[in-house]
Symmetry: C2
Subunit: 524 residues, 2 copies
């Protein structure tokens, strides 16, 4: 189906009078068609449909919900090259990256289909009745988790496929049993429409209620704000800037009924180079670092924006090698002119503070391209200047020279919450590493050894989350199967007749779920 | 140890210049000793100690943490009758109830000790490395949940033992690995000091860090507000009024780093009498209802404050029987003069709206005693007047006469979030019940059939929680073993050498935990 520029409200394609344009990320040229802007009528209709869909969708059989997620994956693949081409124009991301991202998007939908089929996420617990217990009989108690309600998901600029119209937040919310209203990111409305059309037809093909999925677009913040404020919306998924995420958190907290906001916001992802590793593998670490820093023009939430090490000849050699490698790195197309302008402004701002330039990547004549930047400063300066710890979205990083391990630990303690923290260590660094790990546990959602934080596996054990302001709610992850738990709440059923219980809880365990019985686990 | 009126800051007993008095609930007379009021210095010291204790406490062996919880239970029992006597004076609750509450308090500490020993709450997930995977190798990923940080727990007026200085919130937070600072409820400071002394000596006996537990008291809201605002506090547990809970939620949301607040606030716990059940068991239901309504002077969060049924002779008969039983019920001592005055004011307010009085319980000459009250109104009035759906804390309830099942369902849809919702049903009510259950699932944390919501089992499957405003966060429960999850967040470890991993995650599984490996469960 060709692009129409229409909104998708339930099963209906809707045009509105007001439109906005998609833009070619590289050239800045307008791309057709004009895209309809969602107004109050479309928001109202999408929320009403989502509310009406909630009970039938969440109470539908798990097998159907799983089949829907699998069908979403197939429908996205069926879009074929048109999707990759459009995403390339709108995001400026290269084809190989987008094909990989499509694989991840489809893979995570299928992974959540498996999670739904398996049913462990329901967290079923059964405390059988003890009618003879003294002094009081115990009732029959059965617990499971149910969906929170309709969820608003915001498309992310840096993942036009894997964190947008059918990305990780959407997949985990639908898997949990929540209808979803996507607010498309205005920098890739065409990509978003194509994907949303695929999800909408998957919902129709699976005979799901109309409001299971809607897709609204618009260039202004008002649309997202209205969705988050709507009383029918019960949770929010967001990946983007700190200012954007905090604005949504504020709206959600000010509602008569506050709701959870899962905003993944900002992180500088400290890399700690411990002395043994730095000495033994200077060159390999420098190469790995520059590769991670410049991957995807540095436009990852997990980009390594901070490097900590003890001052000395090894660090000097690392900086010199990393600087040399960076200086040879070509500038890369960024996601939008706006993001590129912000990146340049933030790099200039960083350069204006108490830091020294180690190296810049190659510069280009023009266009929205970003060239790498590496700075260095002392721990004392870093500790004295909060601004040095702020995220620069793009391929920029700051190395911090520490006097000793105590000062390095102090720098870590000084950091805000992070998505990741990485240790490079050799065998003789083990004692120091063991001392730092408790700090890193408090600061980050994922701790890596001898690797790079870019590249986030979608799997059961992944955590892509972390203490504020990495996210607005450290109790969740937005990547990996645990993400489903963000959209669930527990309900207990006391003495209900078996025939009125959902199959998940019935005595015969017809779904064959793994259940906790009397505090212990059983598979029957 | 006799009462001193002192605060317990870490292991130190602290007196301050400003004091407040405990009061005999029945007589209103002052009870000695004067109790020290915690000021900024004590708050600062307690928070600093809690922060310092966090890493050593949370990383101590699970066996030690479990032993600590068991020791807390023993230390509370060792207080003997002095505790029951003091709690009786301060709360006005009868001995049998307090002995039962002590049993519950001790029982839930031991239950959480078992949860800690078992270790399932760590939610360990292992995704083994796949070095040969194409196109990209997979890293070794291991996930577990760790404690959020120091927690502030507010003592509750209506559970001087089970939800106060060593109650459910404290037990679940300590079990999760969080140091706890208790803000004592000012209506039972002596009870609270006795219990806190027991916990503090248990912490010393187990050689735990000093800041694992502190106990602050004071009559004003400023103390609690300062604790919730302190940047070292990472979560809050509260049971109390809606106004009190919302005030804490607001403070927590306004922090530079917002934190979770688990406030259990208000609920009217609808009881739906379906036609078949009402006809078949009018008398039994009326008796059960009045017993539940007047239990503990109606001072339970789960008190049945709303009864829904179809209008007709069966409902009239139920009201008449319930009214007769209530009219014979003696008034009961309430928790405090303040709570009693509020109760009377709320009952008068209810009586002033479009409702009819069915019956009042027996009145007393004086004192802080509450007499039962049952009113009736029509669904149309109820739907038109939000005030009729507000909680009255005490033994008052409102019956709502509905025209038909559609109107009854509309009343349920109209309700705010609830802790519980109860169906009384007979076999021939099954079809109607099945239609109502999805509504109740959206509205409440616990759904009961043919029982009464008062009496909350402390067990794995219990949910004492629910949608706003029953609680400020429907994702948790404050009673039962799932309560531990409120104080945890996931952390992922990527490619860490086995020797640097905590034992929960090591390859050999030295703790013998049940772990999810590659998405499936294993016990080894």
């Amino acid at each position: 189906m060709p692009l129409t520029g229409q909104l998708i409200v339930g099963f209906a394609r809707v045009s509105t009078a007001e439109t906005f344009d998609a833009v070619d990320a590289a050239s800045g040229a307008k791309l057709g068609p004009p895209f309809s802007v969602a107004g109050p009528a479309e928001i109202e209709r999408a929320c009403a449909l989502a509310q009406a869909a909630f009970d039938p969708y969440r109470t539908a059989a798990l097998d159907l919900r799983a089949r829907f997620l699998d069908t979403c994956a197939e429908s996205i693949l069926a879009l074929g090259d048109e999707l990759i081409a459009r995403a390339g124009l709108e995001s400026g991301l290269p084809r190989a990256r987008l094909e990989g991202e499509r694989g991840r998007t489809v893979g995570q939908l299928r992974l959540f289909a498996d999670v739904v089929r398996r049913g462990d996420f329901l967290g079923v617990r059964v405390d059988p009745a003890q009618p003879e217990r003294k002094p009081l009989a115990r009732s029959d108690l059965r617990q499971r988790k149910i969906a929170l309600g309709p969820v608003t998901v915001f498309g992310a600029s840096n993942f036009p496929l894997a964190f947008s119209a059918a990305g990780g937040d959407m997949a985990s919310a639908l898997a949990a049993g929540c209808p979803v209203i996507v607010k498309a990111h205005p920098s890739h409305p065409g990509t978003s429409e194509l994907v949303a059309g695929a999800i909408s037809s998957a919902a129709r093909a699976c005979d799901l209620p109309e409001g299971t999925y809607s897709h609204l677009a618009g260039p202004a913040n008002e649309l997202g704000a209205a969705l988050v404020a709507d009383p029918r919306i019960k949770a929010v998924g967001f990946t983007g800037s700190r200012a954007g995420g905090l604005a949504l958190v504020k709206i959600a907290a000010a509602r008569p009924e506050p709701i959870p906001v899962y905003a993944e916001m900002s992180s500088i992802n400290p890399i700690v180079l411990l002395p043994g590793a730095l000495k033994a593998r200077t060159e390999a670490i420098a190469t790995g670092f520059v590769n991670s820093l410049t991957l995807g023009a540095g436009q990852f939430c997990t980009n390594p924006g901070l490097v900590l090490a003890l001052g000395g000849p090894e660090l000097d050699r690392f900086l010199s090698l990393a600087g040399e490698a960076l200086a040879k790195t070509a500038p890369a197309q960024m996601l939008s002119a706006n993001i590129c302008a912000n990146y340049r402004r933030r790099v200039d701002h960083l350069a204006s503070r108490s830091v020294s330039l180690v190296a810049r990547g190659l510069e280009a004549g023009g266009g929205s391209v970003g060239s790498g930047a590496l700075f260095v400063t002392d721990a004392r300066e870093f500790l004295a200047d909060r601004k040095l710890g702020e995220e620069v979205f793009g391929p920029a990083s700051l190395a911090v020279r520490c006097r000793d391990m105590a000062q390095l630990a102090a720098v870590l303690e000084h950091l805000e919450g992070q998505l990741t923290a990485t240790l490079h260590l050799a065998d003789d660094d083990a004692t120091i590493a063991a001392r730092l790990i408790p700090i890193l546990e408090r600061k980050a959602g994922r701790i890596l050894a001898n690797g790079w934080p870019t590249g986030v596996e979608v799997s059961p054990a992944m955590v892509h989350g972390g203490p504020f302001p990495a996210t607005s709610d450290s109790r969740g992850t937005s990547v990996g199967t645990l993400a489903i738990e963000r959209f669930l709440r527990p309900v207990c059923y006391q003495d209900l007749p078996d025939s009125l219980l959902p199959p998940d809880l019935q005595s015969g365990n017809p779904l064959g779920l793994r259940r906790m019985v009397d505090g212990g686990y059983t598979s029957s």
